[in-house]
């Protein structure tokens, strides 16, 4: 049985750990500083803790750092890291350097339950939730940790289907005791799990991205099974009724599928349903996955779509594809080949 980890614990949890170990409450802040500001790899490096305190902690806890086991580098500089998770499972994170910013795309689950038709992660099914330790470890253990400017929860899994651990990780990333990152440098992407989204909106200040992909209910049902549970209309109502303030941003992700969601009809409907919501749309070229019935729209169509939406007053951009040659681009992350055959009920 592995020892519990210190990494990924909130200040409140570290205080409880300190008190239970017979240490002073303030020790928790010291531990947090070593974990999240000095990014140490062992408990022994926490040198402002007494030797006895380190000994007590070491007996009961691991620090929780797990280094990547594989890295692949794209011709465009993107790197895909394979990290071990608990119970012999694996997750991927994509490091995307771009001029003066460096973004890390992190995972929140091993696999995914959402089954979107266009997503490689969905094809591997669901193997487990990540703990806050495993989420934070993708950041702490990144060789380029010092260069990181932005974090996006757009890797494997649906963050709001693992809301407790995701919120804990966001607290650690944005708190003064933690990484002290600006919440404006963090974006969490969801397909629209409404209860989780409500908690995220009220308990965090980070940006929100919604995977939309079509404004029409019936089409969205065919692309994204979640539509039958949390219809887009319900998601938009929540967003419309929430005060995002001046700094916080909501964006909609829109993968362009040839002949499916790239027509004038879609532009008109998008303008209609997004009326009154201060937002932007990110258009994404579809990166084909095995056995998919979908194709990407032509670049010229994507540009026309962007220009038409901009003309209607919706700020729309085309997201640059990164890391496609190493399967690190949007919708391509997967550790399916490392998943052991499970006993299923079908």
């Amino acid at each position: 049985m592995p020892k519990p980890s210190l990494l990924g614990k909130t200040l409140k949890e570290l205080e409880a750990i300190a008190l239970e170990a017979g240490l002073q409450k303030f020790v928790a802040k010291q531990i947090a500083s070593w974990l999240y500001k000095k990014n140490v790899t062992t408990i022994d490096e926490m040198t402002n803790l007494s030797i006895k305190a380190r000994q007590i902690l070491g007996e009961k806890f691991d620090l929780g750092r797990l280094n990547h086991v594989k890295v692949q580098e794209s011709i465009d500089g993107t790197k895909k890291y394979l990290y071990p998770a608990l119970n012999g499972k694996f997750i991927e994170a994509a490091y995307i350097p771009d001029k003066d910013r460096a973004t890390l795309c992190i995972s929140s689950q091993v696999g995914c339950k959402m089954g979107c038709l266009f997503c490689m992660t969905g094809k591997q099914g669901f193997q487990g939730q990540l703990t806050a330790t495993e989420i934070i470890n993708q950041i702490s253990s990144l060789p380029e940790f010092e260069k990181l400017t932005n974090i996006v929860y757009m890797g494997m899994g649906e963050p709001f289907d693992n809301i407790e651990e995701v919120l804990k990780s966001l607290e650690i990333l944005t708190s003064a005791y933690g990484f002290a990152m600006s919440p404006k440098r963090i974006t969490v992407s969801t397909i629209g799990i409404v209860p989780g989204m409500k908690r995220f909106l009220t308990e965090s200040s980070c940006h929100l991205a919604i995977s939309m992909h079509t404004p029409f209910d019936e089409e969205r049902k065919q692309l994204m099974p979640i539509q039958v549970v949390y219809p887009l209309k319900e998601v938009l109502n929540e967003i419309r009724n929430f005060n995002f303030g001046l700094q916080r941003r909501v964006s909609f992700e829109y993968i362009m599928f040839k002949g499916v969601n790239d027509s004038q009809r879609h532009i008109k409907e998008l303008a209609k349903i997004l009326n009154g919501i201060k937002c932007r749309i990110n258009l994404i070229k579809f990166h084909p996955i095995p056995d998919t019935p979908l194709e990407s729209s032509e670049i010229s169509t994507i540009e026309w779509f962007r220009d038409s939406l901009n003309e209607k007053g919706i700020i729309t951009t085309i997201r640059q594809s990164r890391g496609q040659d190493i399967y690190a681009a949007c919708g391509l992350l997967s550790t399916k080949q490392l998943v052991k055959q499970q006993n299923t009920d079908f």
Binding site: V229, Q342, T344, F346
Partner: protein, 213 residues
């Protein structure tokens, strides 16, 4: 969420139960409700598995040993309180000339549909590991409008198809391409089944899925 008094909570197989409460709302077959035992436990979503003309609301659930809710839910007795939301969701299986495919407790929305509406020319393919997990088979056996196919993956028998439902679909020739297909089950089942259907010429626009999560 509103409090409901449990009428019964019956174990129907090794780890599966049917929970019943008195219904006080309208619903459309295929809809879901959120359920929890108390405010401290995050609610989970369940498909309604009773007809919309029945006075009781029934929910089918399996115990997830690692879960917070279902082990507690299974301990509740008649007279105990459970919290249930108003119904929601848009999974509405077609009731004519359609194919319904489910695994395990994914049968629930189809149970509700068959007990609520007149269904004709329906093929129902249900996959389960053992014979006891073909829940509500007595209901489907008696409907003339349903071609009821059971795929049993780990029990030998002479009555049902022996093998996984994905194997059944892979072996099956001439699946109607113009029919609508409604899938309900785990993510793994949905993704694998959908890929098989698409490989057999069925358009993704004819496939509708509800994944339990």
């Amino acid at each position: 969420m509103k409090e409901y008094k449990i009428i019964d909570n019956i174990r129907i197989s090794e780890s599966t139960y049917v929970l019943s409460v008195k219904r006080d709302f309208e619903f459309v077959p295929g809809q879901i409700v959120s359920v929890t035992t108390n405010e401290k436990i995050a609610p989970r979503l369940y498909s309604i598995c009773s007809g919309n003309k029945e006075t009781d609301l029934k929910l089918l659930y399996s115990i997830k040993s690692e879960g917070q809710l279902t082990p507690q839910l299974s301990l509740l007795k008649s007279g105990n309180i459970v919290h249930i939301s108003i119904p929601g969701g848009q999974f509405k299986p077609a009731i004519n000339n359609a194919c319904w495919i489910s695994a395990g407790t994914g049968i629930a929305p189809f149970v509700s549909t068959i007990q609520s509406l007149e269904c004709n020319n329906i093929t129902l393919i249900h996959g389960a590991r053992i014979i006891d997990d073909f829940y509500f088979s007595n209901i489907f056996e008696k409907f003339a409008g349903v071609d009821y196919i059971r795929c049993c993956s780990s029990s030998n028998n002479n009555v049902f198809y022996e093998g996984r439902l994905t194997q059944y679909l892979t072996e099956k020739d001439n699946l109607p391409v113009n029919q609508l297909y409604y899938l309900c089950g785990s993510a793994e089942m949905i993704v694998e089944t959908r890929d098989i259907l698409i490989s057999k010429g069925i358009s993704f626009s004819n496939i509708f899925s509800e994944i339990y999560f």
